[in-house]
C-alpha cells in the first residue's frame, strides 16, 4: 500500500510494510574467477608485458653501458662530430655523433621526399584505379617487397643503382649546382646521401603505402557517391573527398617509413661513405648514419669506443622511438575517427 502525504511543503511517499510474499531465497552470485583462470590471466598478462620489459631493458642497458661516455662528454656527444679513440682512455678520446645524427636525418628525409609522390599515387592506384582482381595480386607482391632483406637492397643499390644514380647526381649538380644543397666540393657523386636516400625510398615505400592505402580505403563512401552524383569525375572525388580525409593517415604512414629509414643499417652501410663532418651537400660522396656507424666501427672498437657505440645506439633508439610513437598516434587517431 502506498500512501502519499504532504509534509512541510514536500511531497513524501512512503511504502508501508506489507505481508512478505513467499519468494525464493536469493542466490549468491559469484563473480570471482576460479583459481586456474586467475593464474591463467596473470600468466597471459605477464607474457603480454614482454614488449614493455624488453624495451625498458634495452633503454636502461644502453644507458648504463654508455654512461661513462655521457658523463664525460655531456651534450658534446650530440653537438660535436669528432670521432677519435687514440689509446682507449677517455682523456684522449673525442666522441660526438652530430654528423651521424644529421646524416641519418638527411638521408631519411631524402628518402621520404623521393617516396612521397609514389606513396600517394600507388595508394590511390591500388584503391581506386586497379581492376579488382588484379588488386589482390599486386598487394601480395607489395607485401613481399616489404620483406626483401636490406642486404639485397644494399647489394642492388651499390652494384646496380649507384652507377646510374651517380650519373643522375652529376647532371643535377650540373644544372642546379648553384643551389647550396646540390653543390659539391669534389666531382665524386658515388656513395652519397642521394644514392642512399634513393635505396631507402624504395625500402620504405611498401610500409608507408600500405598504411596510406588502409586509410584511403576507409574514405566515406557516401561522400564519394555524392561527388559523383554532382557530376564530379573520379579525380574530382579523390581530390575533394579521399585526399582531405586521408591526410593524417598519409602523414602517419610517412612518419612510420621515416622511422624505418632512420634505423636502417646495412643498406646504408653499403651505399654511403661515412664522413665525420656535418654536411648538407646531398650529392657529395660524404654522409652519416648512426646505425651504419655502429655496424662499421663495431669490429675494431676498443672497450671505450664500444661504450660510445652503446651511447650512440641509445640516441638512435630514442630518436626512432619518438618518430614511431608520433606516427602510431597519428595513424591511430585517423583510424579511430572513422569508427
Amino acid at each position: 500500500m502506498v500512501r502519499t502525504v504532504w509534509h512541510g511543503g514536500t511531497l513524501m511517499t512512503s511504502v508501508l510494510s506489507e505481508p512478505a510474499l513467499a519468494s525464493p531465497p536469493r542466490r549468491e552470485i559469484v563473480d570471482r574467477r576460479s583459481l586456474g583462470d586467475r593464474i591463467f590471466r596473470k600468466g597471459v598478462t605477464l607474457g603480454a608485458l614482454t614488449a614493455f620489459i624488453v624495451l625498458s631493458l634495452i633503454a636502461s642497458l644502453l644507458f648504463f653501458r654508455g654512461f661513462q661516455i655521457f658523463s664525460a662528454f655531456g651534450l658534446d656527444f650530440i653537438t660535436t662530430s669528432t670521432w677519435e679513440d687514440v689509446d682507449g682512455t677517455v682523456e684522449n678520446a673525442k666522441f660526438g655523433v652530430a654528423a651521424m645524427l644529421v646524416g641519418s636525418i638527411v638521408v631519411a628525409t631524402i628518402a621520404m621526399a623521393v617516396a612521397f609522390p609514389f606513396v600517394v599515387s600507388s595508394a590511390l592506384f591500388l584503391e581506386f584505379y586497379v581492376p579488382h582482381k588484379l588488386k589482390a595480386v599486386l598487394v601480395a607482391i607489395l607485401d613481399l617487397m616489404a620483406a626483401i632483406p636490406s642486404i639485397i637492397y644494399g647489394l642492388w643499390g651499390y652494384l646496380v643503382l649507384m652507377p646510374l644514380a651517380s650519373g643522375w647526381a652529376a647532371s643535377i649538380n650540373n644544372y642546379l649546382g648553384w643551389f647550396p644543397i646540390f653543390g659539391v666540393d669534389f666531382d665524386n657523386f658515388e656513395a652519397s646521401p642521394f644514392v642512399s636516400g634513393l635505396v631507402l625510398a624504395l625500402m620504405v615505400l611498401p610500409i608507408a603505402m600500405s598504411v596510406t592505402r588502409e586509410v584511403y580505403s576507409r574514405a566515406p563512401l557516401d561522400q564519394i557517391q555524392a561527388a559523383y552524383a554532382l557530376g564530379g569525375s573520379r579525380w574530382g572525388a579523390i581530390r575533394t573527398v579521399v585526399i582531405p580525409f586521408g591526410r593524417s593517415g598519409l602523414v602517419g604512414g610517412m612518419l612510420l617509413g621515416m622511422g624505418r629509414a632512420l634505423g636502417e643499417t646495412v643498406a646504408v652501410l653499403l651505399t654511403l661513405n661515412l664522413v665525420f663532418e656535418v654536411k648538407f651537400q646531398i650529392l657529395a660522396s660524404a654522409g652519416g648514419s648512426v646505425a651504419s656507424l655502429i655496424a662499421s666501427r663495431f669490429g675494431e672498437a676498443s672497450p671505450l669506443e664500444l661504450k660510445a657505440l652503446m651511447a650512440a645506439g641509445l640516441v638512435l633508439f630514442l630518436l626512432t622511438l619518438i618518430v614511431n610513437f608520433g606516427a602510431s598516434t597519428i595513424v591511430a587517431r585517423a583510424e579511430r575517427r572513422v569508427k
Binding site: I58, F128, I152, W235, G263, F325
Partner: protein
C-alpha cells in the same frame, strides 16, 4: 504469416571501372611510346632516363587530349589517371630490376654441391664450382627455429591479452608492441651484444635472441588481427557451457584461429630471415658447417652475402648474389606458404 524478405542493395562503388576496353588502354601507351622514342633519338633527352621522362611527358599530353575531347573536367581526370598510373608503374621498375638482377647474377653459383658443401677449404675467390653455403643455410634455419620457439608463444600471448583478457593494459600493450616494431635492428643486436655476447662470446643462440626481439611485434600484431576475426558468439557459447577462460582460450579460440596464427608466425619469420645488422653483432660468421648454437660463431645467409660482398672481387660478388638468391627464395617460400594458409576467409 509470410516472411517478408528485405533485400538491401549492395552499395555501389562508383569508381569501379566496368569494361575499360583494351584499345582505350593500349593506344595512348603506344602513341606515347612512339613519340618518346622520337624525342629520345632527336633531342637531348637521351638514354634510359631521357626516354622515361619523354614517355611520361608524352603520355600525359596524350591522356589530356583524349579527355579534353569531351570536356575540361574529363581532361583533368585523364591527366590525373595518367600520373597516378605512371607513379605506380615507376615504383615497380626498381623492384623488377632487383628480382631480375638477383636471379641473373646469382644463378651462376647454383650447382649440386652448393647446398651440401661449406666454405671451410674454399676461399671467396675460388672457382664457383667449389664450396657452397650449407653452413649458412643451416645457421639461418637453426637461428630462425630458436627465435620462433621464443617469439611465437610470446607473440600469441600478447595478442591473446588484447583480445581475450581485455585487461586495463590493452592500450598500453598495443603501444609497446608498436614501439617495439620500430626498434632498429642494429639496436636489437647491440642490446644482445651487451647482455649475452660480451659474457658468452658470439653464438647462434645470441643471434636467435636478437632475431626474436625483431620477430615478436610482427607476430603479436598479425595474431591480434587474426584473433579478432574469431566471432564473439563462439566465446559466449563456450562460457555459457561453463568453460573456464583458460579452456575457452586454449581449446576453442586458438584452435579456431589456427591457420591464421600459423600465417602470423610465418610472416614474422619471413620478416627477420634476411636481417643482417643484428647478426654482425651477435652470431657473427663462420665458414664451417656446424650445428652448435653455443660458444662459437655460426654462419647465416645474410652474413654469407655480406662477407662475400666485403671481399669484393668478381667471384666473391657472384657468391654474394648467390647467397642473396637463396635467401630470396627462402623468404618467397615462407611468404607464399603464409599466403596460401591464410587464403580463405580474408580479404
Amino acid at each position: 504469416m509470410t516472411n517478408i524478405e528485405v533485400k538491401i542493395p549492395e552499395r555501389q562503388r562508383p569508381w569501379i571501372n566496368r569494361g575499360a576496353s583494351v584499345r582505350e588502354l593500349v593506344v595512348p601507351v603506344a602513341i606515347a611510346a612512339v613519340v618518346a622514342a622520337a624525342i629520345n633519338l632527336l633531342t637531348g633527352l637521351a638514354g634510359a632516363l631521357g626516354f622515361y621522362f619523354a614517355f611520361v611527358l608524352s603520355y600525359a599530353v596524350v591522356a589530356w587530349f583524349t579527355g579534353r575531347r569531351h570536356d575540361k573536367v574529363k581532361g583533368i581526370d585523364k591527366l590525373a589517371t595518367a600520373f597516378i598510373t605512371l607513379g605506380f608503374a615507376t615504383a615497380f621498375i626498381p623492384w623488377a630490376s632487383i628480382l631480375f638482377t638477383v636471379v641473373r647474377r646469382g644463378w651462376p653459383t647454383i650447382y649440386g654441391g652448393y647446398f651440401t658443401t661449406d666454405m671451410r677449404v674454399t676461399a671467396a675467390d675460388d672457382d664457383l664450382a667449389m664450396g657452397g653455403l650449407s653452413h649458412a643455410l643451416v645457421g639461418t634455419v637453426l637461428m630462425l627455429l630458436v627465435a620462433s620457439v621464443i617469439s611465437i608463444p610470446l607473440g600469441i600471448l600478447t595478442a591473446a591479452y588484447i583480445t581475450e583478457i581485455r585487461g586495463k593494459l590493452s592500450g598500453f600493450v598495443r603501444i609497446m608492441v608498436q614501439s617495439m616494431s620500430g626498434v632498429p635492428s642494429i639496436v636489437a643486436g647491440l642490446f644482445i651484444y651487451a647482455t649475452v655476447v660480451s659474457r658468452f662470446k658470439f653464438s647462434g643462440l645470441a643471434g636467435a635472441l636478437a632475431l626474436s626481439i625483431l620477430m615478436l611485434p610482427t607476430i603479436a600484431r598479425t595474431a591480434e588481427e587474426v584473433l579478432k576475426l574469431v566471432p564473439e558468439e563462439i566465446r559466449s557459447a563456450s562460457y555459457a557451457l561453463g568453460a573456464s577462460q583458460m579452456a575457452t582460450t586454449f581449446r576453442i579460440i586458438l584452435p579456431a584461429a589456427r591457420s591464421g596464427l600459423v600465417t602470423a608466425s610465418m610472416l614474422g619469420v619471413a620478416r627477420v630471415a634476411g636481417e643482417t645488422a643484428p647478426l654482425i653483432l651477435t652470431s657473427f660468421y663462420s665458414a664451417v658447417f656446424s650445428l652448435k648454437m653455443i660458444g662459437e660463431p655460426i654462419g647465416s645467409l645474410p652474413m654469407y652475402t655480406y662477407q662475400n660482398f666485403g671481399v669484393g672481387t668478381e667471384t666473391a660478388l657472384t657468391r654474394a648474389w648467390g647467397g642473396a638468391l637463396v635467401l630470396m627464395v627462402l623468404i618467397l617460400i615462407l611468404f607464399s606458404t603464409a599466403r596460401l594458409l591464410s587464403g580463405r576467409g580474408q580479404k
